[in-house]
């Protein structure tokens, strides 16, 4: 194994390969900043280019592009509340408020460091446990996935803060309803499509995210006639050291980073779960673990709230390489494209790869990690300039944000119907915000809705219609019990607080 790692390191750090990584990271960041051209498209676009390179270099190029695109997605999430990648939705919760307070530079820096730490810790875990993990990948069945998704949804609502639990649950249900629009995942029947062929595939995540986050935010700033973000950005640009983190701040986020890495990695190891679920779970977990003022800060610009999902997201990406390389099973759209790429290089992922060709296995892993490192080195110096983007006049920035959101969605589907739908959803989102209804549970419900229903129905088919699948396997039972405990949390909380007051 160590020889394999050594070969991997030597390959990865050759001059030409380093150059390739740099190019890849740069290209990836630029592509990723344009919402809609996420990692999947970026990597797919790179595949023809990579045919001319040798496999190691090609994998490194794709690694650079992939991590660059995720960072670009985090950037647009933080700066303009436009999460182009599902894994960066949770980043907007605390990243965007930080940017509005004039701390965009710090937020972007935290995102970069957190991502890097997540990737590093996950790579260590991978090193230690790769073979054993292959078995973990295969231990989850449909019933377990359903339970895990349910847990995620309940966790985000349970810790929502006083008076907000009912609203969060309501919006979660709303998100689940939106997820049912389209074709039924099990029987292939159209639902709630109003006879429109354009809705057969459902509402795309990108459309919902862009319209309800970016478009509604841009319109809200117009409605509220405020320019506070710009004033704050100007002040920050004039001020000094926007990237620096004080020792106290580092100490504050370090434990969150540690926990989120582990959580993210193991969630990533499960095929089909990925960065998105990991980021939401991490955010929910950190909020649940925080106390008092720290907990109240979540959603308003908490440093921990930003670090947790960013770490988990990246750790999950590393984790998702376990099923990809040891079993040849892609856990997400991105890894599916990478699998195609690996196959076209003649690398056959599977249990035999790890045993018979450890050099190849480790080269791939290390190449991916090198991309992670280079991204940090490349992008940190760029952050102050990127943060300055917010200083552009509102009259120019808002139209540009609207344009990027609209065109970003269009570039995925090339369907003008989506543009109409975006305006509708954007206006509806403004309505929801004015009514004080939280959008985060809605988008989580939407993302998880499909997967939940899919797994639930499969579990029922397998158990022949009986609900026994909820407790038939120990893993399922464990998660269900955890969900129930978390669900009861608000009641305990209220009682404890009432007790204190009374």
């Amino acid at each position: 194994m160590w020889q394999g790692i050594e070969t991997g390191l030597v390959t990865a750090f050759s001059i030409s390969n380093l150059a390739v990584v740099v190019v890849g990271c740069f290209a990836g960041t630029v592509i990723g900043m344009l919402p809609g051209l996420g990692p999947i498209s970026a990597i797919a676009l790179m595949i023809p280019i990579s045919y001319g390179l040798d496999p190691a270099a090609a994998m490194i190029l794709m690694a650079g592009v992939y991590y660059g695109a995720i960072f670009g997605g985090s950037t647009s999430s933080i700066l303009i509340n436009a999460p182009g990648v599902a894994g960066t939705v949770a980043t907007t919760f605390d990243g965007y408020p930080l940017a509005r307070r004039g701390q965009a530079g710090k937020a972007l820096a935290i995102a970069a460091y957190a991502s890097f730490s997540g990737g590093t810790l996950a790579a260590l875990l991978l090193l230690l446990a790769a073979p054993a993990l292959a078995r973990v990948s295969l231990s989850f069945q449909s019933a377990d996935y359903f339970a895990l998704m349910l847990f995620g949804l309940v966790a985000v609502c349970a810790f929502a803060g006083r008076g907000q639990v009912v609203k969060s649950l309501l919006m979660t249900v709303f998100g689940l309803m939106l997820a049912t629009v389209g074709t039924d995942p099990t029987a292939g029947v159209p639902r709630f499509t109003f006879g429109q062929l354009d809705l057969i595939d459902g509402i795309s995540f990108l459309l919902l995210a862009m319209a309800s986050f970016a478009v509604s935010e841009a319109l809200m700033t117009v409605l509220n006639n405020e320019d506070s973000a710009r004033q704050a950005a100007k002040a920050a640009a004039a001020g000094a050291g926007s990237l620096a983190l004080s020792k106290k701040e580092v100490a504050e986020i370090a434990p969150a980073v540690g926990r989120s890495s582990v959580l993210g990695f193991f969630v990533g190891v499960l095929p089909g779960a990925g960065g998105t679920i990991a980021s939401f779970l991490a955010w929910g977990m950190e909020r649940g673990l925080a106390r008092g003022a720290a907990r109240a800060a979540f959603g308003k610009g908490s440093l921990r709230g930003l670090a947790a999902p960013e770490t988990a997201n990246n750790a999950a990406s590393t984790g998702s390489f376990v099923p990809l390389l040891t079993l040849g099973i892609p856990g997400s759209g991105t890894t599916a494209v990478m699998l195609g790429a690996l196959l076209s290089f003649g690398i056959q992922p599977g249990p035999r790869l790890y045993i018979e060709e450890p050099a190849v296995f480790w080269s791939v892993i290390i190449s991916m990690y090198v991309g992670n490192i280079v991204l940090l080195i490349l992008n940190l110096p760029l952050i102050p300039y990127i943060a300055r983007l917010l200083a552009v006049r509102k009259e120019i920035l808002v139209p540009l944000i609207l344009f990027f959101s609209l065109i970003g969605v269009y570039l995925v589907s090339f369907n003008v119907f989506d543009l109409w739908l975006m305006v509708l959803v954007g206006v509806a989102a403004i309505g929801l915000r004015l009514l004080g209804l939280p959008l985060a549970p809605m988008i989580l419900g939407f993302i998880l809705g499909d997967i939940m229903e899919d797994n639930l129905r499969r579990a029922l088919i397998i158990s022949n219609g009986s609900p026994a699948f909820l407790w038939a396997r120990p893993s399922t039972l464990f998660i269900i019990v955890a969900t129930a405990l978390v669900a009861l949390f608000p009641l305990f909380n209220r009682r404890a607080q009432a007790g204190e007051g009374g």
Binding site: S41, D184, T186, V189, D201, Q348
Partner: protein
């Protein structure tokens, strides 16, 4: 140049810009001759349709059979958006080909599409993938006969999964297999997954006991030691695995190919359609195509024009009948 008021100069400049841009756009859209083909892909970048069309286009250009090729991704409506678009703009799409596969049949049968393959001009099918039934390598079922015996004993314990929704491709192949082997397909417990890959995971975790998937994918997984193939829906045994029986050895008509091919717009003149079909045939003889085919694990399956149309009609009948027997409308 005479001095003009600030607003006027700017307005004139703006107008000049817009006209220039308009001119560029018009030139770019100039009439396309048959030496160039525009491919419409009903799905996103990187998907199966996308790879097929782009590979075909690239090989045709590199092999000198075409001057240039352009590609347009037009996803949406489960692939129906592109079909609808081609039908609507048919008059100016005489140098356009649409790539598609079995879903065009299933979705028009199930009523999701308001149109069918008869609303387009079939040019040629070029590649195909037969269906395969597979189990885990450590399964107690070593042959297809043992599988059907186990099925007849207790259908609830022999769950077959696949990467399509109920009533679609993998379900149909599984049903076809069960019927050919003499089982009652009403008893079939089919477990749907999002994709072939997820279905393989389901097999490995033990959720399902058998898998219905494409032979290309099954072969790859078999080489990685993940599963054992028990039968295929090909007309004869696969050359790579002569020990694996073809289902047609057990029941006549148990053949099914998941083809991928190209269609032209309705009203495409026959000479043009024949020309494209001939181009595609020549393409398959090129070494660049052979290399791409090998790399992607595709199998050549050439059916031009009238043969293609007949093949589609026959497959449509088979799919309809099976779906009715399974309880779908």
């Amino acid at each position: 140049m005479a001095r003009c008021r600030r607003g006027q100069c700017a307005a004139a400049l703006l107008l000049a810009w817009l006209l220039a841009l308009g001119g560029v756009a018009v030139a770019a859209a100039a009439v396309v001759k048959p030496a160039r083909i525009h491919f419409i892909i009903p799905g996103g970048a990187g998907g199966g349709w996308d790879r097929t069309a782009r590979t075909a286009g690239d090989v045709l250009v590199k092999g000198g059979l075409l001057q240039s090729a352009s590609f347009e991704n037009l996803s949406g409506g489960g692939g129906g958006k592109a079909i609808g678009y081609l039908i609507k703009t048919a008059e100016r799409q005489h140098a356009t080909l649409l790539v598609n596969s079995v879903p065009i049949l299933v979705r028009s049968i199930s009523g999701i599409f308001p149109f069918s393959h008869r609303d387009l001009t079939p040019v040629a099918a070029i590649i195909g993938d037969y269906g395969a039934i597979a189990v885990r390598p450590d399964s107690s079922l070593q042959s297809i006969e043992q599988l059907i015996a186990a099925f007849k004993r207790d259908p609830l314990q022999l769950r077959i999964g696949g990467g399509s929704v109920r009533g679609d491709l993998d379900h149909i192949v599984a049903a076809m297999a069960i019927r050919a082997l003499g089982g009652d397909l009403q008893q079939l417990v089919y477990v749907p997954y999002d994709s072939g890959g997820k279905a393989v995971v389901g097999l490995l975790t033990g959720e399902i006991q058998a898998l219905s998937t494409g032979f290309g994918e099954a072969l790859e997984q078999m080489r990685a030691g993940q599963l054992r193939i028990l039968a295929v829906t090909a007309p004869q045994r696969p050359p790579q695995l002569p020990a694996v029986p073809a289902l047609s050895e057990y029941g006549s008509g148990a053949e099914f190919a998941n083809w991928r091919g190209f269609f032209g717009p309705p009203g495409l003149p026959a000479e043009l359609a024949d020309h494209y079909a001939a181009l595609l045939q020549e393409m398959q003889a090129l070494p660049a195509w052979e290399e791409a085919r090998e790399r992607n694990g595709w199998v050549n399956f050439y059916r031009p024009r009238a043969q293609f149309a007949d093949f589609l009609a026959a497959q449509e009948a088979v799919i309809s009948a099976l779906r009715r027997d399974l309880g779908f409308r």
